[in-house]
Symmetry: C2
Subunit: 443 residues, 2 copies
């Protein structure tokens, strides 16, 4: 409203939107998509040969050789379902994936909503409940509200870097069974917003828990390519499930979500992803496919997905540039995570667990009693008031932990670290300056 502010521009790092923060897209992906849109570019010699070859291959999979035609079926382009299944099989060291289990989506939130819609039933003590980690992805609580599924919280262990605790799962389930019917458990790995990466033992425990309690596993694995913690690597729930033997792999119902918005692609604006649906009834799969809408899914996000699951190979003209860009992105994430964690832990009244993957940090705030009381007077939670004031005073938009489901006396903020180093530094300095100011004011 024209008021003078001490900052030049607002920086919004509350969501995982890397391009908005200034991270560049992957050149190979954008080159191929540009050629698919305007095939005259095939004649331009400036593009690497594998860009042209890929574009020709993808256009060959489109009806009439054009991205302007409807997809072949309401499931999408069959060749791309196949590419995704092959990617999953490679990723999981040979554990087979069936193209018919792959359902395209315009973003993992949208498919998650469909799945929850399907699970949702009852009310009061018969209402469907979803075991939900706290903290959880910030879009999840609202989604559960919309579809009428009860959020059944299980606490992640902050002091152990936000790991899952089996005893806590049992406690949460037992407590919940008194007032709803828990039907599924939600997992985010690598963790949004915690940055935690689960190890084999944890995943096995969770699968055994889901199997014995007959819970559907909803596994969000969108940051699978963004693991940077030392000696950490991504293990898919699917791989672990199938290595636990037939008694598990043939019975546990699981949906795994992946997306072109997250990780090194970061193509949020294109809106695309897939889910792999395992051990689910055929009727359920047909419902999930048909509920996407009366018409076929958009073509370009499917092509972007094909590029994500099928990057250039050694020997391809784009291989080196592509590999460099990926390395640089993951390296930037790793450096940003470490730098921000150390920086925030050095600010009085803040503490932060190190991240091993994903694009968020989730530091804890130790707030003066005065601001908590001020928040209570305004009918706000203190983390929400904190973020509001931070935006007003310093032009930095972070996410309050309330959005991630936290509603107790612990206050946290959410911070996307998938940003150019200079942007992150700017955010950190403004955040520290604000945090010191707010503590000073109250002492």
């Amino acid at each position: 409203q024209g008021e003078q502010k001490p900052f030049q521009r607002v920086i919004d790092v509350s969501c995982g939107d890397p391009h908005r923060a200034g991270m560049p897209p992957l050149s190979f992906a954008r080159q191929v998509l540009a050629v698919c849109l305007y095939p005259e570019l095939l004649k331009e010699s400036s593009f690497p040969v594998d860009v042209r070859q890929r574009a020709e291959k993808l256009l060959g999979a489109c009806n009439g050789g054009s991205v302007g035609s409807y997809s072949a079926s309401s499931c999408g382009i069959p060749q791309i379902q196949k590419s995704v299944a092959e990617f999953i099989t490679r990723r999981d060291g040979g554990v087979a994936s069936d193209p018919e289990d792959i359902i395209f989506s315009s973003g993992s939130q949208k498919t998650l909503k469909l799945v929850l819609h399907l699970l949702s039933s009852g009310q009061g003590p018969t209402q469907t409940g979803l075991l939900t980690p706290l903290p959880c992805p910030h879009t999840l609580p609202m989604l559960l509200d919309e579809v009428g599924v009860k959020l059944v919280p299980y606490q992640l262990l902050e002091e152990r870097g936000w790991a899952i605790d089996l005893e806590e799962l049992h406690r949460a389930l037992k407590a919940a069974r008194r007032h709803c019917e828990p039907r599924a458990i939600y997992i985010s790995n690598p963790g949004n917003p915690t940055g935690h990466v689960q190890d084999l033992k944890t995943i096995e425990e969770v699968i055994r828990f889901a199997a014995s309690e007959r819970l559907v596993l909803l596994v969000e694995e969108v940051y699978q390519d963004s693991v940077f913690g030392q000696d950490k690597k991504f293990l898919s729930y699917k791989k672990v499930l199938f290595e636990m033997g037939a008694s598990f792999s043939e019975s546990v119902e699981m949906v795994s979500f992946h997306s072109i918005s997250a990780g090194t692609m970061g193509e949020c604006g294109l809106r695309g992803g897939y889910m792999e649906v395992i051990n689910m009834d055929l009727l359920v799969k047909n419902f999930l496919t048909s509920m996407q809408g009366p018409s076929s899914p958009p073509v370009l996000p499917q092509l972007a997905l094909e590029i994500m699951v099928n990057p250039p190979s050694p020997g391809d003209a784009s291989y080196e540039v592509f590999t460099q860009e990926i390395l640089q992105k993951v390296e930037t994430l790793a450096q940003n995570a470490q730098r921000a964690c150390e920086f925030l832990n050095a600010v009085p009244g803040m503490s932060c667990q190190p991240a091993m993957g994903g694009v968020f940090l989730y530091p804890r705030l130790h707030l003066p009693a005065e601001i908590i009381q001020e928040a209570q007077r305004s009918g706000l939670r203190a983390d929400v008031l904190y973020c509001k004031k931070l935006l007003e005073e310093e032009g930095v938009c972070l996410g309050p932990g309330s959005e991630n489901g936290h509603d107790d006396e612990n206050y946290h903020i959410r911070l996307c670290i998938s940003a150019p180093t200079a942007v992150l530094e700017d955010v950190l300095k403004r955040l520290r300056s604000f945090h010191l100011w707010i503590q000073d004011r109250h002492h």
Copy 2:
């Protein structure tokens, strides 16, 4: 299944999917979108200067200057809402359009479904009914089934080129009120699949009818740029409504649907469009916006929409090429419509009304009694059996009139004429040969 067929390839002209049939995309649109995806192309001198300028402008409207970021709001990119409103205002000779009335969609079918969902309520005699033209767009009957809205048919007058008849509207409404609650009337203009273009008098009559019967007007106007009948031009319902004075323009509830899939753009694969929502409650508008999903709409279809509503102007570098391409497309449509109509009317046992706009012809079949009986024995309608055999014998896929809501003793087929002339000729020849064969067989 490996069986030898007398044709080389299947031609599918049952849907309005021009790129699939081989119609080229608009160069300006594809060039701008390619540059937006891969801005390095800004440095390529081979693109016209206005392509680069437009791309820079559109990227400037994207968060972080990238199509890879989420849209600014769940309504989409505000500048593009504004562009659409300005387009409507120009189109309607100055009748104002409010950017806040513009809601983006991933295709007009999807938004129509949301609107119908909102209107849907009751069952038995209280079930919501929709006055629906027969024939109607082939996707509509299934959509109504899905959302639980009753199809209340009103017959278009074939012998008057599929015009609307006011008396028939009154008859249909009166008959329907005995077994449901008609709440809205669906209009397709230019008509899908009839090719009829409504005149001022008809539109005024329909608006007066909707006003006095308190029906919501759902107006599908996706072929507004594809009118080619002599002395015919497209008049929007919005324009006519507002020229009828405040007693109408301030009260009649109306939703107009437009799409980048239809007309000269023909970008079915991108999945984008908008609806303009007039005289509707603010709550309704908010619902329609929020129901699009938990996240923001895809960026590229919005950019394509901006290009559609804001084509190159005289003096712009791309103006001549663009204008030529548009002229050529409309000219091809006009020639195809005339050629196919004359051709079909010369086939014994077929008759066809001339089209004045849109991309379909809807010829009538006069079938031998034997094929009707054969269909009855197989539990099919004769038009469905006809299309099935046509596909098997000649490799041509047309749409049976049953899909367009026709279920009486009149049989029709639907035929998309937005195709290269050679493809159309091939379709016509195969159709005639099949039609003569099937009549011969039964005499």
